[in-house]
Point group: C2
Chain length 258, copies 2
């Protein structure tokens, strides 16, 4: 058994970070498609094609289970992935996040990339679970570049976050779904921009909770864990940000997609 994870770029490393926090000696292969990042502004056709190529690469690396550590690809490409690779188990990031919503949540905010919000996937899955809840979705296209620029604590970032979230604050939401794996890095600023009582649900934790519950053997520690970080475009900047986020020295490997 080997866990493969992919994302459009470095955002999915927040899932790896959560995994390493829980199981520092788990094995995995990560792929970040930095040569074509970001996915969140692209069309569904293009995102589907990229997701299939990403999965094929991880299968070639020996992955048996693939975690789609990218909300945009989870929202848009999951059916296409399962149809293309019917014998592979795909773990998406959206269903565990929706499962983490509680029945008492009556007003739920969802933030994500343009493609994630436009797909309506969160809205549909939330409505199935909580038919009476009100869902408020907001696309926040600038959050990903802000995180990749590492503008986490800048005063300008606070202003941008406040601007995007102001309709959710006005609606007095009970819970907010961070529907993009980049967003946990902005969690403090996001929290400051909403009422204190708002419960924040982040997808990396929800995804790891579900894997731990359903396939714990996938992330059991080993003496010599394999922990590979592949990127389709490998720059010092990428390695530096990855190392900073994961608090360890990351040496990336260059991936050529099949």
């Amino acid at each position: 058994m080997l866990l493969g994870l992919f994302d459009s770029g470095i955002g999915g490393l927040t899932v790896v970070r959560e995994l390493l926090k829980r199981h520092p000696r788990a094995s995995f292969v990560y792929l970040g498609d930095t040569a074509r990042a970001p996915y969140g502004n692209k069309t569904e056709e293009t995102i589907r094609q990229y997701a299939i190529e990403d999965a094929a690469f991880l299968l070639g690396q020996g992955a048996t289970h693939i975690a789609v550590a990218c909300n945009t690809a989870s929202a848009v490409a999951l059916d296409a992935l399962r149809q293309t690779f019917p014998r592979v188990t795909f773990l998406d990031v959206i269903s565990p996040t929706v499962e983490a919503v509680q029945n008492k949540d009556k007003k739920i905010g969802v933030i994500g990339t343009r493609a994630t919000i436009r797909s309506g996937t969160y809205e549909k899955e939330l409505k199935e679970k909580l038919p009476d809840a009100d869902i408020y979705s907001v696309a926040c296209p600038l959050f990903v570049p802000i995180v990749e620029e590492n503008w986490i604590t800048q005063p300008e970032t606070k202003k941008i976050v406040r601007r995007y979230l102001s309709p959710l604050k006005q609606q007095q939401i009970d819970a907010l779904i961070l529907g993009c794996t980049h967003y946990p890095l902005l969690q403090d600023v996001i929290r400051m921009s909403l009422q204190k009582r708002v419960r924040i649900i982040d997808s990396p934790s929800a995804m790891l909770d579900k894997i731990g519950r359903e396939i714990p053997e996938l992330i059991t520690p080993s003496d010599e864990p394999r922990q590979d970080y592949f990127f389709t475009d490998l720059s010092l900047h990428t390695e530096r940000i990855a190392s900073r986020w994961l608090k360890r020295n990351i040496e990336g490997l260059l991936a050529t997609l099949p």
Copy 2:
């Protein structure tokens, strides 16, 4: 003769806008590589490969001259393009911009993407022309996503621009080169963030001036001009932004790269 223009995405449309302002009935084929945009954070190897594929597509469309309407590709991929296609004339956006600098400019600021600034191309060409000038270069990675989000007049945008440009303001520069084809759309905010006397040099105008001077027959009007807009990822969002910038209804064509 047919002019082909390419850019990583929609930024190069500022060159088309300048062309149409001067010659509304000129013929051209435009390619925006929106499926892999942006280029500005990627490595030189990846940008070179993409630029070669972009040029090959335009040649397949019948282009005889190719304008690299992207500072990042001009800074990093020009030699590779000329080596790969030795019989094609490539027009870059950097040399005409440097030519537009005046001898009286003693302190010159350059802003661009991370890849453009890191390449040092502007610095090198400016030093050749004006050995005694002081050059101050600043990478502004958030400007492209801000323009693509169409946050042109937002107060948050003013704050972000002011933050990036403050070292240039402190140096009291005489001229500022907008070293990215997206940036002319932020020109008003940029102007407000610097001393009034700073002369702003934008690359689309400089590029068109040079074409008009050296190969005027390339952009002469015809009765039935060919004006094609290809994109590797074609979304409504792209068509809408293109139409707004060019003040005409743009119907995009989907490009599949060779």
